[in-house]
């Protein structure tokens, strides 16, 4: 059963399809905002299939083992994260102590793999991309951990199932002042985690080519693209699980769940389309000062009962 959860539903296969459809939705909304037509619904599938049959080139300067291993690890980490979230949402009792922390670790693995892979490629532009990714990771982790701490203190448990159970009894965490502030900080931090504008600094196309992904091709690049798509699908579910009572896949609950999901995806897309890219120093300062202060305010408000 665990293998079914991991590989088929709600893990790898389902997450791949849902992730690519989400990526299509993101592209389509972007196109509408920009007065373009946008791609057909299967475009992202075509892209991935094309990458799967392309040749993988390994640069002479690269360390081939690490270079090729890294996308596989990133992809499996993303699948594990999405499977964990999905299973917990299906049945709250499928939780264990500290799975929120484990989930958070696993969701950080793709970023770390991008850093390692870019460093292993031996390309100067990639190495700049890697150093930016690292800076950015250090930047957004701080406010995010404060937000997670806020939720953990409010619920009194570090289990995802407990958080969901708490919300079904006491109402979603989002329905409070501290919850709204925490959710906003969370959305912005995940925007950086997903590498979307204004935080697409590590792969800034017009500055670094593709930055960290510059030397990747074929299946390896496809794996990274899939990782991004799966994370794009997982992030709104992560927010909904923590703040909005999770996803119920029974009866009318599924419509409500899709509505919540689409709302968050649309938010990500709109933020990405109405902002220019920040510089890396500005981004880190933004997270360490503005976002951290907001996260602390949320923490204090929560602890005094708002």
């Amino acid at each position: 059963m665990a293998i079914f959860y991991y590989l088929i539903f709600p893990g790898f296969l389902f997450a791949t399809i849902a992730g690519l459809l989400t990526a299509w939705f993101d592209r389509k909304v972007t196109a509408k905002v920009q007065w373009r037509k946008g791609p057909p619904i299967l475009q992202n599938f075509y892209d991935i299939f094309k990458l799967l049959i392309k040749e993988v080139t390994i640069p002479d300067t690269a360390n081939p083992t690490i270079f090729l291993l890294v996308p596989a690890i990133a992809l499996s980490a993303a699948s594990v994260a999405t499977a964990m979230l999905g299973v917990v949402n299906m049945n709250w009792s499928y939780t264990f102590v500290g799975d929120l922390i484990v989930l958070w670790y696993i969701m950080s693995i793709p970023s770390i793999m991008i850093i390692i892979g870019a460093s292993a490629s031996g390309n100067p532009l990639s190495s700049i991309g890697a150093s930016r990714e690292m800076n950015q990771l250090i930047g957004y982790e701080l406010p995010l951990v404060i937000i997670l701490a806020t939720i953990i203190f409010k619920v009194g448990s570090i289990g995802l199932g407990d958080i969901l159970a708490y919300q079904s009894v006491n109402g979603p965490i989002l329905y409070s002042i501290s919850g709204v502030i925490a959710c906003i900080v969370m959305i912005i931090c995940l925007q950086a985690k997903l590498g979307l504008v204004p935080f697409d600094i590590p792969e800034a196309e017009t500055e670094l080519g593709a930055g960290a992904f510059m030397e990747y091709s074929g299946v390896a690049l496809g794996a990274f693209k899939l990782t991004k798509a799966i994370l794009l699908y997982t992030s709104p579910i992560f927010i909904i699980t923590l703040f909005w009572g999770g996803i119920h896949i029974h009866g009318l609950g599924i419509l409500w769940a899709i509505l919540k999901y689409v709302l968050f995806i649309a938010l990500f897309t709109l933020i990405r389309n109405t902002n220019p890219r920040l510089r890396i120093d500005q981004s880190v300062r933004f997270f360490w000062i503005t976002m951290t202060i907001l996260a602390l305010i949320a923490f204090i408000l929560m602890s005094i009962g708002y």
Partner: protein, 408 residues
């Protein structure tokens, strides 16, 4: 940290045209920058000498897809300088309309690209959407979206129809609304302020020192605009009546350059409106039959700065010499003043901020392996060409005698 060298180009997603920037970086900070051009030399000046006076403007138009009015404008002004004539009044009003429409579409194109360079693709798409209005007007007025083929010595080739002029007036109203929106976006968005303000500052002194021109120098406080300083056609009377004014700003950073271009578009809209409202009836062509011996210069304020053409005639059907100086040629060296000290992330923006046009600029230059650059004289070129010819002949095994021996 060790200094790293980052090459941008000759072929790079950032660049529309081949050119090479070599950045020396220390971490994320740029220490030095080297610009090399010469990847796209097409020998326009030489080609021009093989064409008749009537054909030359068609060729000159194709120097650049964006300044396809500015080059012919300066070129026919040079021819008219040799002829020493004035074009008929109606043509004097038609020319600035085409010129200013080109300025609007060029600046909107730049605005979109600048948005793209800082990852703001929505601005990219919106600017290009509103650029369509201008291109549609140009198509109605001249028959072409680009390469208008309007200019000839002594006048213009096509007359404006009343319907096209009405269409243009409406399009200008729409464009002005869009420009107001863009001005609002640039002046209100806090993230844009963060990215653009204080970045790549070109001081007044540097602007003068590097002979920067056009919208690269005016935001630094250099009050220079060929349309006002040496007025031709309807530019003189419209400026005297206070219809428009050159935009001169103080800061010299990328923000000022963007603001300068947006404000210039408003002035262009005013010029177009005034010209269409006041256009007189009459002939559009002075009927020039031949160009006498002599030499002449013409210059015009292209969207990127002053473009300069020199032509010499010996009274035959063909120009003897045609020299082009495009604005980017002057603006390129300012990178030496603006790039060092900037972030890598900002270099893309700074290089874009002069609105470089390399196909206009390319001149003969040779880069050897040691990295020093020679400008070749005519003698050098002759020698090189002779050597090359001999080389080819040797390879073909056909060399029997050497007629060029005395040249080498």
């Amino acid at each position: 940290m060790k200094e790293t060298i980052i090459p941008i180009g000759p072929f790079h997603p950032l660049l529309e045209e081949p050119e090479l920037f070599t950045l020396k970086v220390d971490g994320e900070t740029v220490v030095d920058v080297d610009v090399r051009i010469g990847w796209n030399h097409r020998g326009i000046e030489k080609l021009s000498q093989g064409l008749t006076w009537d054909q030359v403007p068609f060729l000159i138009e194709r120097i650049c897809g964006i300044c396809s009015t500015s080059h012919p404008y300066a070129c026919v002004l040079a021819m008219e300088d040799i002829l020493d004539i004035k074009v008929p009044p109606r043509a004097q009003y038609i020319r600035p309309v085409v010129g200013e429409l080109e300025r609007i579409h060029s600046h909107l194109l730049w605005l979109g690209l600048a948005g793209h360079f800082i990852g703001y693709n929505t601005v990219f798409m919106w600017a290009w959407k509103y650029r369509e209005l201008t291109l549609d007007s140009l198509e109605k007025l001249t028959g072409n979206r680009n390469h208008y083929a309007m200019f000839k010595a002594g006048g213009v080739r096509r007359d404006f129809s009343q319907e096209a002029m009405d269409f243009t007036m409406n399009a200008m109203n729409e464009t002005e609304k869009a420009l107001n929106m863009f001005l609002g976006v640039v002046s209100d968005d806090p993230v844009l302020h963060k990215r653009l303000k204080g970045v790549g500052v070109l001081t007044y002194k540097d602007a003068i020192e590097y002979s920067a021109i056009g919208p690269t120098s005016r935001p630094s406080g250099v009050d220079h605009d060929v349309r006002r300083d040496d007025p031709v056609d309807a530019y003189g009377p419209s400026f005297d009546k206070g219809v428009w004014k050159p935009i001169v700003l103080e800061d010299g950073d990328v923000f000022a350059k963007a603001a300068c271009r947006i404000l210039e578009m408003f002035e262009s809209v005013k010029i177009i409106r005034w010209c269409i409202e006041n256009i007189p009836d009459g002939e559009i062509d002075a009927g020039v039959k031949e160009i006498p011996a002599g030499e002449g210069c013409g210059h015009y304020e292209a969207p990127r700065g002053e473009v300069f053409h020199y032509m010499r005639s010996d009274g035959s059907n063909y120009p003897v010499r045609h020299k082009v100086r495009a604005p980017t040629y002057n603006n390129l060296p300012t990178f030496k003043a603006t790039c060092p000290g900037a972030h890598i992330a900002d270099v893309a923006l700074i290089t874009a901020s002069i609105d470089p046009c390399y196909c206009c600029t390319e001149r003969v230059g040779v880069v050897d392996n040691l990295g020093t650059k020679h400008i070749l004289t005519e003698d050098d070129l002759t020698k090189l060409s002779v050597e090359r010819t001999l080389d080819v002949r040797k390879k073909l095994g056909k060399i029997t005698w050497n007629p060029y021996a005395k040249l080498l």
